[in-house]
């Protein structure tokens, strides 16, 4: 089996598991929508402050929902006892990491695809431009890269639900700032805006490579 087919095999396993239980998708999606509703009350959204608050509200909803799904990545394997079997597979640890990362990207992506139109309707903002696609893609990749690595670390402890956000939130600050500002620039175009997309791309490339190297130390028994 080549590296790519190993990755795809593990990814397909995760997708089939999720399609049968539908636990992660439903809870993540509902959670993202609830955050949007809560934000509507918390900030009293009106026409004049919409442009300032909407990008932040959207990304907070995405980040919180992502963390919910990321926490399940390795933990669900451990609960079923299938983690040991996955480790016994004659595959590179990098393939396991990459498959888990792609799975998380896919889960978060589905939630975003469902949440974005509802978000645009609820907040009455035009978010159906093609320019949003690279922002969402790079932002999600950044969150998932760090999140997948640390979900493996947090899964080894008793307090994984508490520990995962505490470890992940400080580290993904650049992605959150970049994604919020880039989305804000889409709504209200401004000049002299720093290259946020470049920042997110650099963050993703750096941490994707570092995480792939580090993952084997994290899950080693």
């Amino acid at each position: 089996m080549t590296f790519l087919s190993q990755v795809l095999a593990i990814l397909w396993k995760d997708i089939r598991c999720e399609l049968r239980s539908k636990q992660t998708w439903t809870s993540m999606g509902l959670f993202a929508l609830l955050v949007l509703v809560i934000f509507n009350f918390a900030f009293d959204l009106r026409v004049d402050n919409k442009a300032a608050i909407a990008p932040g509200a959207m990304w907070v909803a995405f980040v919180f929902a992502s963390l919910l799904g990321l926490g399940r990545t390795i933990a669900s394997e451990q609960e079923k006892g299938s983690m040991d079997r996955l480790m016994l597979c004659p595959v590179d640890r990098k393939a396991i990491y990459l498959a888990k990362l792609l799975g998380n990207m896919l889960f978060i992506g589905v939630v975003e695809v469902v949440a974005l139109p509802i978000f645009a309707a609820l907040f009455n903002v035009p978010f159906f431009t093609g320019e949003l696609l690279p922002i969402v893609l790079l932002g999600t990749l950044g969150i998932a890269t760090i999140g997948t690595l640390f979900s493996a670390i947090a899964a080894a402890t008793q307090a994984r639900e508490v520990l995962l956000p505490i470890l992940v939130f400080p580290l993904i600050v650049p992605v959150v700032i970049g994604a919020v500002r880039a989305t804000g620039t889409l709504m209200v175009p401004s000049i002299n805006e720093p290259p946020w997309l470049g920042l997110m791309a650099a963050f993703d490339v750096i941490f994707l490579s570092v995480s792939m190297l580090m993952f084997e130390y994290v899950i080693e028994e």
């Binding site: 760090i146 690595l149 640390f150 670390i153 080894a156 402890t157 008793q158 307090a159 520990l163 505490i166 470890l167 939130f169 400080p170 580290l171 600050v173 650049p174 700032i177 970049g178 500002r181 720093p194 946020w196 920042l199 650099a202 963050f203 750096i206 941490f207 570092v210 995480s211 580090m214 130390y217 994290v218 080693e220 028994e221």
Partner: protein
């Protein structure tokens, strides 16, 4: 059979601990560092409050800067040492690297907390606000969060090799992330006064001298405490091994 095996391990551990105890010498380096940092502390306090001139614009509150800068420096140095000890542990698989990482994390977290507090006090008198979302302040706060996350992770996972590896990974990711966090917040907004040491004629020589003496003293204090905490980590590990051999 199991009992015999367990007794054998206890014997072996006793023997190991016995040889370790014989190795303990009079801690020369630690005592010298302790005395040096004590003398340095006296000299620094004299220099900070009597020798250094009062700032023309900021007045007396500026003197907290001689404490704030060394504390912030040690907070950052502490994390660099945690990360390098983490790399050392991942490469060598030697527990001693991990003791150094833990010791440095505890010290660094302590100093970065003091740096945040002294900085806030200074900010309240000079800027008129306790806090601003400036690049250096925000990065320091995030470093503080990473430190706390590190310490929480280590205490949740206990003294296992898995815990040491997880801590090393967190520290390495953190040390790579911090410059990116700094740059991203810098692009976002900034207000902190830029560093004026090394700029020609920006500061009178007595101020630079006081700052250098203060920095040296605090670094000596850090090295002294580092040795103490390292020994404490070692003693705790030995105590835990003994306890697990009895249970």
């Amino acid at each position: 059979m199991a009992l015999v095996k367990r007794e054998a391990t206890v014997e072996r551990r006793k023997a190991k601990v016995g040889t370790k105890q014989q190795e303990i010498r009079f801690p020369v380096v630690s005592v010298i560092l302790g005395i040096l940092s004590l003398i340095g502390m006296m000299v620094s306090i004299w220099m900070i409050f009597l020798y250094a001139p009062t700032d023309a614009i900021q007045g007396e509150p500026q003197r907290i800067f001689y404490f704030h800068v060394p504390m912030a420096w040690l907070g950052m140095l502490g994390f660099v040492i945690v990360a390098f000890a983490g790399i050392g542990y991942l490469v060598k698989k030697d527990e001693r690297w991990d003791w150094a990482a833990r010791a440095s994390a505890e010290l660094g977290a302590f100093f970065i907390t003091l740096a945040l507090i002294t900085g806030s006090i200074w900010g309240k008198t000079i800027w008129g606000t306790w806090w601003t979302w400036d690049a250096r302040l925000t990065t320091t706060l995030i470093l503080w969060f990473i430190y706390i996350g590190y310490l929480m992770l280590r205490s949740y996972m206990g003294r296992t090799p898995a815990s040491a590896r997880a801590g090393a990974v967190l520290a390495i990711i953190g040390i790579i992330d911090l410059p990116i966090i700094y740059e991203s917040v810098n692009w976002w907004r900034t207000l902190h006064p830029p560093a004026q040491v090394g700029v020609q004629d920006a500061l009178p020589p007595s101020v630079v001298l006081t700052l250098m003496v203060s920095l040296t003293t605090f670094t000596l204090l850090y090295s002294f405490l580092m040795i103490q905490l390292y020994q404490l980590q070692r003693a705790q590990t030995l105590a835990q091994q003994l306890r697990s051999s009895i249970e």
